[in-house]
């Protein structure tokens, strides 16, 4: 009996290379005569470029070329927005290099191409630019007010989207309890550890563009559409990619410009950003103002939920900018039943870096809003926050359940996850300690935070994307090839950047084809090797890409069965599949998958009409999203004298359906939770009153270190997804979606007796202390 690979904590095949420095980061790539690109960036948030002169840079030692936006005007096109979900969306022109006006600090205005990066940097200083300042637009509410200066001629409103489900007026009319809160989702900098880099080479006719991207396939199409370079002459490669978290789900100005520079100069060019350049110009995340009203009966049953968002787009709409907050449209109602739900969102232009997907993309924001206000409801009713949730959530026996916002949750068990989490956490004991500390007036108060989240995950059904005005679908592709020697090559369209696809796909294939785990390799991230794919984001790799792999294996096995029947001179129906071989039922005759692969390779004795080679490919397009859920509990100690918040314990019980590799799953959760904690306690992108980013370095933007974070205690419940044959739901974003409200709820819970019902994120010691001072006053 061979061991089932799926479910095993296999150590990753990816690791040895990464651990010994045998890596292929884009910045590692070298070519004979490679040229280095550096960009001059706007120091102004909003200005007209009245004069720009790059001639001083030309002729300096090592400088091959220098260009301003005007030099690209005829060919650079406009950077794409692929998902203007609201029909009224205004997509302003977005030149990769600014020509006449800049709209955020960091926008590229010129570039130098030189023989090394030091000389390129020197030459940037010789470029002269005169800026005619225009007013910065920084505050969303002011931006929408009459008389505000405009970011674009069309005004500062990008779109207004509204959806109403049920009779919202009736739900609020005469409601015994109405909670009304405004929450701030601060702007975040995704901060993947690998800075972006692009290299483009050309033979004069075709182009190979290497980029630290999550989306080589989408990038290839978009480069063609933006620049007019024919799609079939572009190959995109994502070599090793050092983290993304949504920040590399983008079609960037630098990618377009490197392609155009390679074409202009006929040489290989490379650009690698510095971290401070990246903080300015890698798209930011979050940045919403959330006005939320919740109406309930006096027993805590939710009647209605009304959500009104202002979402900061930044200066332009980049790839998914306007769609990100709208992923909240079906998520604020979360795991709860209610009579009515209204969601409205206005996208607002400001003179800041555009926002776009950051781990969770719209769903962490929604989860934060609802999970925070559920705690407020509990406080108002003097009930336990878990009790209020229990009263409202979808019960296990009610699945599949169509929510008020129209999604059908296929499976889940909120009771089981919550029971498990509270037991592991020692919920009652911590509540007792909390009461004791309150009674004693302990300067260090204990707070307990709850988050019972769900997410729409595994993006997503192509039909749904189409109905919601997206530029592409959500299918994924895979090929599986059993080679002549019985080894297996798997091609996946989902390009990893740390998720462990090679290991997980190997586990799936090992079970499906009965081949050893070590006999399988997984290829990806190069449009010449993996010609079809829609890439990696939205917790979609396993739920869609992994299923495509499984489907391709099924097809390979079907092909193998026909061949085996032919070779064994029996009917395909007489064959049974066991441990990598087809056996004639009741006999000893068999053909292993490896023998069949060799027979399919030689082609000497194939059935009529059969094609040589034992391989196949498949695409999978899901009919529904998957809906991971879980219960996260956080205990914090808050020092009321200093405002210091310390996480004392954190328990997460997640239901992500079937698990392919528990080691990888736990790792995803650890990292996801850490990023959500970071939003709650540490991180914020700050612009000053002139529109300058103040947090341009890792010294100013506080990424938590090992010393800032606790251990996370994890467990799982398992309600398999019904929308795919593996029963998997995806786990990439779960931790981040769940943890932010758990932490902030804990901080607020600690301080509620002091009259505090909100602290704006990040809950730094200063913010907590000031809130306490306000409470004292």
């Amino acid at each position: 009996m061979t061991m089932q690979e799926v479910g095993q904590p296999r150590r990753r095949k990816e690791d040895p290379r990464l651990l010994t420095g045998r890596t292929q980061w884009t910045d590692n790539l070298a070519r004979p005569g490679l040229l280095h690109v550096m960009f001059l960036r706007s120091p102004m948030a909003h200005a007209r470029i009245s004069r720009i002169d790059v001639s001083g840079a030309r002729g300096l030692p090592g400088v091959v070329a220098a260009f301003s936006g005007r030099d690209f005007e005829a060919e650079q096109g406009s950077l794409p927005c692929a998902w203007p979900r609201s029909p009224d969306t205004i997509v302003p022109d977005h030149p990769p290099m600014a020509v006449s006006e800049v709209r955020y600090v960091g926008e590229a205005v010129a570039c130098v191409v030189a023989t090394d990066r030091y000389r390129a940097a020197d030459a940037l200083e010789a470029i002269e630019v005169d800026y005619e300042p225009l007013p910065a637009v920084l505050d969303m509410r002011q931006a929408l007010s009459d008389g505000s200066p405009s970011v674009h001629e069309s005004g500062n409103r990008a779109f207004t989207f509204r959806s109403t489900h049920g009779d919202i007026e009736a739900a609020f009319r005469d409601a015994p309890v109405v909670i009304d809160r405004t929450y701030v989702q601060q702007r975040l900098i995704p901060s993947a550890m690998e800075p972006r880099a692009v290299m483009c080479e050309t033979d004069g006719e075709s182009f190979t563009l290497y980029s630290s991207t999550q989306i080589p396939h989408i990038l290839k199409v978009m480069l063609a559409l933006v620049t007019g370079v024919p799609e079939h002459t572009i190959r995109v490669v994502a070599p090793d990619v050092g983290g993304g978290f949504g920040s590399k789900l983008q079609v960037t100005a630098e990618e377009v410009l490197c392609l155009l520079l390679a074409r202009k100069l006929g040489r290989a060019v490379k650009w690698t950003e510095s971290r401070s350049e990246g903080n300015l110009t890698v798209h930011h995340g979050r940045d919403q103002l959330q006005h939320i009203r919740l109406a309930a009966d006096s027993d805590g049953r939710i009647r209605g939920l009304q959500v009104e968002l202002l979402a900061d787009m930044g200066a332009y709409l980049v790839l998914l900018t306007p769609a990100v907050p709208l992923l909240g449209a079906q998520m604020f109602n979360a795991i709860y039943k209610m009579d009515a739900y209204e969601f409205a969102c206005t996208g607002v232009f400001t003179t800041k870096m555009p926002t776009d997907a950051y781990r969770g993309a719209g769903r962490p924001e929604a989860t934060y809003g609802i999970e925070r206000i559920m705690d407020e409801l509990a406080a108002e009713l003097r009930q336990d926050p878990l009790e209020v949730r229990r009263r409202n959530w979808i019960k296990q026996e009610e699945f599949p359940f169509t929510t008020i916002s129209g999604l059908t949750y296929d499976s889940g068990n909120y009771e089981a996850a919550t029971d498990r989490a509270t037991a592991m956490f020692g919920y009652d004991k911590l509540r007792a300690e909390q009461a004791d500390r309150r009674d004693r007036g302990d300067p260090v108060q204990l707070g307990i935070g709850v988050s019972t989240y769900t997410e729409m995950c595994g993006l997503g059904p192509s039909r749904w994307f189409g109905q919601n005005n997206a530029g592409a679908g959500g299918w994924e592709h895979a090929s599986v090839r059993v080679l002549a020697t019985g080894k297996v090559e798997v091609i996946t369209g989902s390009t990893p950047h740390g998720q462990g696809h090679v290991t997980a796909w190997s586990q799936i294939v090992a079970d499906a084809l009965g081949v050893p785990f070590d006999d399988i390799t997984v290829l990806y991230g190069d449009t010449a090797i993996s010609p079809k794919g829609l890439d990696t984001y939205g917790s979609r790799s396993l739920t869609i890409g992994g299923i495509a792999v499984l489907k391709a294996c099924d097809k390979v096995r079907d092909k193998a069965r026909k061949l085996a029947a032919h070779l064994l001179e029996c009917s395909p129906d007489d064959l049974e599949w066991e441990a990598g071989a087809f056996k004639v039922r009741g006999t000893e005759s068999q053909q292993t998958i490896q023998e069949l692969a060799l027979a399919a390779f030689t082609g000497h004795a194939l059935p009529d009409g059969a094609e040589p080679r034992l391989d196949s490919d498949a695409t999978f397009d899901p009919e529904n999203f998957s809906f991971p859920h879980g219960t996260h509990l956080c205990a914090v100690e808050v020092d009321t004298e200093t405002g210091w918040v310390k996480i004392r314990s954190y328990v997460a019980v997640d239901d992500i359906g079937k698990v392919v590799n528990p080691l990888i799953v736990d790792g995803q959760l650890h990292g996801g939770i850490a990023q959500g904690v970071a939003q709650a306690l540490f991180e914020e992108a700050v612009y000053d009153s002139e529109g300058n980013l103040l947090t341009t370095t890792m010294a100013d933007y506080l990424l938590p270190s090992a010393a800032d974070l606790p251990n996370f205690t994890l467990d799982r419940t398992e309600s398999p997804a019904t929308s795919n044959p593996l029963g998997v739901k995806g786990v990439g974003e779960a931790g981040t979606i769940a943890s932010t409200p758990a932490v902030v709820n804990a901080v607020v819970d600690a301080l509620r007796p002091r009259g505090i019902n909100d602290i704006q994120m990040p809950c730094t010691p200063e913010r907590v202390w000031r809130a306490l001072e306000g409470g004292r006053a």
């Binding site: 901060s191 993947a192 550890m193 690998e194 998720q499 990023q675």
Partner: protein, 160 residues
Amino acid sequence: MPRITVTVDGIKYEEDVEPRLLLVHLLRERLGKTGTPVGCDTSNCGACTIMLDGKSAKSCSVLAVQADGSDIVTIEGLGTNGSMHPMQRAFHEEHALQCGYCTPGMVMAAVDLLRDDPEPSEETIRHGLEGNLCRCTGYCNIVRAVRRGAQEMGQAVSTP
């Protein structure tokens, strides 16, 4: 242009360098030692950590000329005879890396940490790695890996 001599992963190099050239750029762009990556420009992230004369150093914050005459070990030279160093193996066993970008620096910092304290507590590990940032793992498994690495290195030392 100053001429410097450095030994990197056991090989001696003589290079003419501009005084402003950073050590990490010497390693990556002149010597082809691309195993050591660059993650920031303010010496916060620690991705570029190497061993400089036996002590960990952030190679983005050292000029190549300052390294003249020194012995450098990078992640590429940490293992011996083609097998991984116990700390590298521990990172693999404990799934202490995901994208792997911070990993070379994290492993070097962990090895250096054990020079001062061969049996560090969780607290010591967390504070000892404060200068190395990871965005993927939430550090839980890194802490475990360092403990495992410490145990294995301790055993290797105590085994006659």
